[in-house]
């Protein structure tokens, strides 16, 4: 136990891959603290689902939000106080189904937050329905004859939307994931990590991922053309190999910085209001 833990009893299923993500986040915070970001600067928002229980297990600032709305919540926090390091944990149901518009627009405006998707490719806490990243034919409680829709590729979407940091991690590769999170938080701009998170109960993909996942080496991460080729290696339905690592990283001005530009702390707007009222006579 370190002080990043709380005393709350963990209620994830035994062996759940969310434990790996929790560990990676804790590791990343400790590393980032050593790099000069103090503990109180971290804020984490979550949506609703298995992933969201993480707020109870981390002794940091958190806002446990609504389903699908963890991203705008985080954006508001960043706009309100740009000194904070704002992270989002959201599920695939949250970010790719219920709240997909927010994901796209957060990437588009390049707001400096870090979005971590616990992608178990189903709605787990509501007992195993298909999500936007469930493969075609997925058998769940709402699709006993197989899901009719194909999965979509969130990395492709993020690249198209203007995300300046696009990565994929694997919950079982904690060290690799830790490094990704550190890089994402240090990235100035919108950073996105889709985390493959096998669900033991409803969609156990451990074996498949263990066989197919490989780490990207020496990729040209500032080239959109190269990145798109890499992204298309796996479409979340079938495929042989699943690359993980940083796919894309470029620098652009951030929304929070521009929105806060030139702001001065003023205690009383009385004189400005009087001036406007006088003009209106």
């Amino acid at each position: 136990m370190n002080e990043l833990d709380t005393k709350t009893k963990n209620t994830w299923c035994p062996g759940c891959s969310n434990f790996g993500i929790l560990q990676a986040i804790k590791n990343a915070i400790l590393i980032l603290e050593k790099k000069g970001i103090s503990r109180e600067k971290f804020v984490l928002t979550t949506g609703i689902g298995c992933h969201a229980k993480i707020v109870d297990y981390l002794n940091i600032n958190t806002f446990y939000g609504l389903h699908g709305r963890a991203i705008p919540l985080a954006e508001g926090i960043k706009i309100g106080n740009p000194d904070l390091k704002v992270l989002v944990c959201a599920g695939d149901g949250d970010a790719y189904d219920e709240g997909i518009s927010h994901l796209i627009h957060a990437a588009k405006r390049n707001i400096d937050i870090t979005v971590l998707i616990h992608n178990n490719r189903n709605f787990a806490l509501t007992t195993g329905q298909f999500s936007a990243t469930s493969p075609k034919g997925f058998v769940g409680r709402s699709s006993p004859e197989g899901n009719l829709e194909s999965a979509f590729n969130p990395l492709e979407l993020m690249l198209a939307s203007g995300a300046t940091f696009v990565a994929r991690g694997y919950a079982a590769k904690i060290e690799h994931l830790t490094n990704l999170i550190v890089q994402a938080v240090l990235h100035k701009g919108f950073s996105f990590i889709d985390i493959l998170q096998p669900c033991l109960v409803w969609f156990n993909t451990f074996d498949v991922y263990n066989r197919r996942v490989y780490e990207i080496e020496n990729n040209e991460i500032s080239s959109k053309e190269r990145t798109i080729q890499k992204i298309l290696e796996w479409d979340y339905n079938d495929g042989e190999k699943i690359p993980i690592g940083i796919f894309y990283k470029v620098e652009k001005p951030t929304f929070d910085e521009e929105a806060n530009k030139g702001l001065v702390k003023i205690k009383d707007f009385g004189p400005q209001i009087k001036e406007i009222l006088d003009k209106k006579i």
Binding site: T6, T8, S38, R39, E40, K41, V43, T45, I48, K53, V55, D56, N59, I60, N61, T62, F63, Y64, G65, L66, R69, P72, L73, A74, E75, G76, I77, K78, I79, G80, N81, D83, L84, G99, S101, H102, I104, H105, A259, N260, G262, L263, V264, K265, I266, K267, D268, F269, G270, Q272, I273, K274, E275, I276, L277, D278, K280, I281
Partner: protein, 552 residues
């Protein structure tokens, strides 16, 4: 000499009638007359028919009259639509380039403008130039105001106005009143300024008529205020959730929308209740259901706003009826939201939002930034401390060795999730204590206003934009007029006092189901009947007088 008179100016959208109406209002304002301007426009960008009614009175007013004294017509359509409302001795001033010969004073406004090298929209200057001459107003007043308003563009407009001025003759010497001119503000401008006075730092909004002009106004003035962020997120769901994030980070935040946008925000409203996050929501009603009639008015969201959101939670609701109340009550809403850490809703409608009212500057001094209850930075921080009055001291992320845990889930005092019976009940009780504390405070604020004959045993009860028309009826028909401005928590004691000795009560509402009467019935108030209008237009003085005469 008339106690009050009305000028209607109409034309197609894009012809500048609204701006001209505002300018005419300002001229009369400078002569000491009290001004109210009613705006009527359609949901289109060019063409169609838009008009403004500028009503000037010796006393403060905030309602339109049907009968008009002067009709300024930019096109034939305006003439056809409004000629019948002209008083017998009324006068038509028309753009003779676009209108066939007509009784009244024809000004070839477009030809004048073209000859003097102006843009077509400047033809309005020729028309108000003529009006000023007709009303016997000193040219210098027009010139001074035009220079103040138009800056560099004043010269050409002055020439055009002068040409119009010279073509008309003085028919009435308008009285200069011994009253100081007051500011002229729309309700939306007043909402924005009231919020700023109460310390607004972040405004978030997705465009929706009739709330959009709050967004436009704040986006315009933020450079002068230097401490305000104005953002337009992707939809209303993003708006409300971002706003809660920004408030959690410590910023005084407001959002604005109409009924449809508010419907999208409702889950977020419930989150504000559960997470005890301060937020001000402006809901400017327009006729609904669904898209309804975007640029017109209604009071059909009253019961929706009072009960929106799943679950039991607390909110503060105010309903201003003009610009002064919009300023004051938005400021109050901001301070209450932060003191009690709850959502506060400013319920207005298109008439309050977009009509123009006189505004007494002294109102501005009544609003200031009131400091909420902050954590004293001693001991372990509990975001949801079960304090005696239910108000847990505030802290924002960034405090050393402190985790601030806000949540949508039921929780313990630290903000950690709970599903245990005892803790659930305790937390709900904590929030109820807060509500009771607010209810006590409300009784000491001005929650119910009374006008007219305060001894009459007949009362009309109104909220929001029907205030103006009701006050005039109170005077004319010797009735008591009661206007609750705080709707939740409801100031029961004040309402009882306001209605003491009353035998017959009528509500006047611009909705189809008498929602105010329904709401007040729940407070044990019995009604004779309700006078309802649901055509998208407000009550005009003459209409309501007729209705009331029949009923009372």
């Amino acid at each position: 000499m008339a106690k009050d008179f009305s000028i209607l100016i109409g034309g197609a959208a894009g012809e500048g009638t609204r701006m001209t109406g505002q300018f005419i209002g300002k001229i009369l304002n400078h002569l000491g007359w009290r001004i109210f301007i009613y705006e009527d426009y359609q949901s289109l960008i060019t063409g169609g028919h838009n008009f403004s009614i500028i009503r000037a009175s010796k006393e403060k007013i905030s309602a339109p009259k049907k009968e008009i004294d002067y009709l300024i017509a930019l096109n034939q359509d305006t003439l056809q639509r409004h000629k019948n409302n002209l008083k017998r001795d009324g006068l038509i001033i028309y753009n003779s380039d676009q209108i066939k010969e007509e009784k009244g004073i024809g000004i070839p406004a477009l030809s004048i403008t073209n000859q003097l090298g102006g843009k077509p929209i400047m033809k309005n200057s020729a028309l108000f130039g003529a009006l000023v001459k007709i009303l016997g107003i000193d040219w210098q007043i027009l010139e001074n105001l035009l220079r103040k308003e138009f800056g560099e563009k004043a010269e050409i407009n002055l020439k055009i106005a002068q040409a119009g001025f010279e073509r008309a003759k003085t028919l009435w010497k308008i009285e200069k009143l011994n009253q100081k001119p007051l500011s002229l503000l729309t309700g939306n401008e007043a909402v924005a300024l009231g919020a700023l006075k109460a310390g607004l730092e972040v405004y978030l909004s997705y465009p929706m008529t009739p709330a959009s002009s709050i967004l436009h106004f704040l986006a315009q003035v933020k450079k002068d205020f230097k401490n305000v962020i104005v953002c337009q997120p992707e939809n209303e769901i993003a708006v409300i959730n971002m706003a809660l994030g920004s408030a959690y980070a410590g910023k005084r935040t407001m959002v604005g929308t109409s009924g449809g946008g508010f419907a999208l925000m409702v889950e977020g409203l419930s989150l504000a209740g559960q997470s005890e996050t301060p937020i001000v929501i402006v809901e400017s009603q327009r006729p609904a259901p669904a898209t309804g009639i975007p640029t017109y008015t209604a009071q059909g969201d009253l019961l929706f706003v009072l009960s929106a959101g799943h679950g039991d939670f607390l909110r503060f609701v105010v309903a201003p009826g003009d610009a002064e109340e919009a300023f004051y009550l938005t400021g109050l809403a901001m301070n209450i939201a932060w003191k009690y850490q709850m959502p506060a809703i400013v319920l207005i409608d298109k008439e309050v939002s977009e009509d123009t009212f006189n505004f007494d500057e002294s109102i501005a001094d009544k609003v200031k930034v009131e400091k909420p209850i902050f954590w004293e930075k001693a001991g372990e921080y509990k975001r949801y401390l079960d304090a005696e009055n239910g108000i847990s001291p505030l802290a924002f992320p960034g405090e050393k060795e402190t985790a601030i845990k806000s949540t949508s889930y039921e929780h313990d005092e630290f903000g950690i999730t709970t599903e245990e019976e005892e803790k659930i009940e305790k937390m709900q009780n904590k929030r109820l204590k807060k509500y009771r504390a607010l209810k006590r405070e409300i009784e000491n604020l001005e929650g119910v206003k009374v006008y007219g004959n305060k001894n009459s045993d007949k009362a009309i009860v109104v909220f929001g934009s029907n205030k103006g028309v009701a006050i005039e009826m109170g005077k004319e028909l010797n009735l008591r007029v009661v206007q609750p401005v705080i709707l939740q928590p409801f100031p029961e004691e004040q309402m009882k006092k306001a209605l003491l000795g009353v035998k017959k009560i009528f509500t006047i509402e611009t909705n189809a189901s008498a929602q105010l009467a329904q709401f007040l019935s729940c407070q044990g108030i019995k009604f004779e009947s309700s006078i309802l209008k649901y055509t998208g237009r407000p009550f005009f003085i003459e209409e309501l007088k007729e209705e009331l005469k029949n009923k009372t």
